[in-house]
């Protein structure tokens, strides 16, 4: 690997560690209270969900509206397993089980539906997620419509923070590899992609499955942080909320997804005091941003340490 790339990786690791230390310090001195911590965890979980969805929509060009279904799979895996095994080991086992089930479900849903294009795919995946929800709603082990409560809390903010870093690294590294180029080629022109030897079904499915498994992780974290889950937490409106983050940030921009998740998380917290008017303001904000910034807040911009380092080096050379 080139020196430049290693430096960029080192920068990212440094950012992650500094962020962690910084939040820890702020919690310690009391700047971050339970209220803000709750906001940070929600933002973190939304980042995990939305980066995975952005991989599916922005990179592979497949319009999926069923992300909440996979989140439900992870949440219920954790909720159920933690009842039988209320230990840290149980928590991690439940995450793995959630991922495994999400992969199987994503393959079952993806093989027939990923042949559909555009809005047809959106509506089919939305339907599939609703089917998952109805099934959960009618199962005994999931406690039906009442849901599960008193789930032990293992997903504290440091755990969520680490998972945000992990899943983002997985998604971004996937997007910037052979696989990432293949799915972007399919997005830009499926016929041409096939003509250069790319198997569209295989690669679309790969992106879909990866996105689904990170959504399951987010579901597990959600279940063990909030400690209560019910089928209504994973409806169409929840899938749409994730879609909003992706589009607001800029389809295809992971930086944008982070930015939008933070902006929306803060906005939501600030608007808490407005009562019923909260959602009206939120709706107007959404419409206004879309009308004036149709490609999202950041468009297709992607922050890259490699580029920043390049510029830095050039300046140094110019100065020398």
């Amino acid at each position: 690997m080139t020196k430049k790339k290693l430096q960029a990786i080192a920068c990212w690791l440094a950012v992650m560690i500094v962020g962690f230390v910084l939040i820890n310090a702020l919690v310690y001195v009391g700047v971050i209270d339970a209220f803000i911590e709750n906001m940070l965890v929600t933002i973190g979980i939304n980042i995990i969900l939305a980066t995975g969805l952005n991989l599916i929509i922005g990179f592979s060009g497949q319009f999926s509206l069923g992300h909440a279904g996979f989140m439900a799979v992870g949440a219920y895996a954790t909720g159920i397993i933690l009842q039988a095994m209320p230990t840290t080991v149980g928590f991690f086992v439940s995450i793995v089980v959630g991922i495994a089930i999400a992969i199987v479900v994503a393959i079952i849903i993806g093989i027939p539906t990923l042949r559909l294009s555009g809005d047809y795919l959106a509506i089919a995946t939305m339907g599939a997620a609703e089917i998952i929800r109805v099934v959960i709603n009618n199962m005994k082990v999931t406690n039906g419509a009442a849901g599960l409560f008193n789930i032990p809390q293992f997903a504290t903010w440091p755990v969520v923070y680490i998972f945000v870093c992990l899943t983002t690294a997985v998604i971004v590294n996937f997007a910037h590899s052979r696989a990432g180029r293949a799915i972007q080629a399919i997005r830009d022109d499926e016929i041409a992609a096939e003509a250069v030897g790319i198997n569209p079904t295989k690669w679309k499915l790969a992106a879909f499955v990866l996105g689904a498994s990170t959504a399951a992780v987010a579901g597990s974290l959600h279940a063990s942080y909030i400690q209560t889950i019910a089928p209504t937490d994973f409806g169409i409106m929840n899938s749409i909320a994730m879609l909003i983050i992706v589009v607001l940030g800029g389809v295809g921009s992971m930086t944008g997804t982070f930015f939008a998740a933070v902006v929306l998380g803060v906005l939501d917290t600030v608007l808490q005091s407005f009562g019923t008017l909260r959602m009206v303001i939120y709706a107007v904000a959404l419409i206004v941003i879309m009308v004036f910034k149709p490609t999202g807040l950041l468009g297709r911009y992607e922050f890259s340490f490699a580029r920043v380092l390049d510029r830095f080096r050039k300046k140094k050379e110019d100065a020398a």
Binding site: M1, K5, I9, A169, V170, N173, F174, S177, R178, A179, R181, A182, Q184, A185, R187, D188, D189, I191, A192, A193, E194, A195, V196, G197, I198, N199, P200, G252, R300
Partner: protein
């Protein structure tokens, strides 16, 4: 010489319309063959049938892999591409949001492997494979004079360059046979001359077998070693450029049809 591609009695029927009717042809290894015919003669339809985009209704197509002729019937386009047949499109189809380099590397997807784990953990194996893909890409870019624009998003490049990138992308699949669907369409005489030179190089320098669909007769006559003529979906003539130029059926098809060669 050995036969690289063998087309036997291929027909393509859309509803009641026979777009291609009972076409048989062969392409020898290392040849530069042209397929010509008036507009709507079924040339692109035939290309699509051969590359699996829209499979033939009847007939068989076989392609040489090593010492064997392997049937291409029922093969999907990506399988055909992996076997060593590349193509370009009449209406350029680039991955327009990707850079030139990424376009070429996407076309190499089947040529190297990056495991999921080594990609997401950025293991040394990943770096090695990326370096390999970059090396291949750099070679092609240098040979096709695209190094300067390597990191430019293809949508932002001029038309003539986009045509060249499409050919470069086809080369990146490491093919034996390359189909070029009207590569000179929309080009001025100067660009066409450059293109002719490039197509010749595909044959000589890259060692590729070339099948060319083209309307520009001077280009075809100067490049092709052998020409097939298609009219109303049927093959009406086959031969060297000079034979074709003097073939009555061909002259009739072009002049009688009101299309100026």
């Amino acid at each position: 010489m050995t036969t690289l591609l063998k087309v036997d009695h291929v027909s393509k029927i859309f509803g009641g319309l026979k777009a291609v009717e009972d076409v048989s042809m062969h392409v020898e290894t290392g040849e530069l063959v042209a397929l010509i015919g008036p507009n709507g003669a079924g040339k692109t339809t035939l290309f699509n049938a051969l590359t699996g985009v829209s499979p033939a209704t009847e007939g068989t197509v076989a392609f040489r892999v090593g010492d064997e002729m392997v049937s291409l019937d029922k093969k999907k386009p990506y399988q055909v591409a992996k076997m060593g047949i590349a193509r370009t499109f009449q209406n350029i189809r680039l991955f327009h949001q990707l850079s030139v380099r990424e376009n070429l590397q996407a076309a190499m997807t089947h040529r190297y492997k990056e495991g999921f784990v080594s990609s997401i953990l950025r293991l040394p194996a990943f770096a090695k494979q990326e370096a390999l893909a970059n090396k291949w890409t750099d070679e092609i870019l240098a040979k096709l004079d695209l190094t300067d624009v390597a990191d430019v998003i293809t949508a932002n490049l001029p038309y003539g360059t986009q045509r060249r990138i499409e050919i470069a992308r086809a080369v990146a699949t490491d093919p034996q046979l390359i189909f070029l669907d009207e590569p000179a369409a929309g080009m001025n005489p100067e660009e066409t001359a450059d293109l002719a030179h490039l197509i010749k190089r595909l044959q000589t320098e890259f060692g590729l077998t070339v099948v060319l669909i083209e309307h520009d007769m001077s280009l075809v006559m100067s490049l092709a070693e052998r020409i097939y003529v298609l009219e109303h979906g049927k093959l009406i003539a086959e031969g060297t450029p000079s034979e074709i130029q003097h073939n009555d059926a061909v002259i009739n098809a072009y002049l009688g049809g009101g299309v100026h060669a």
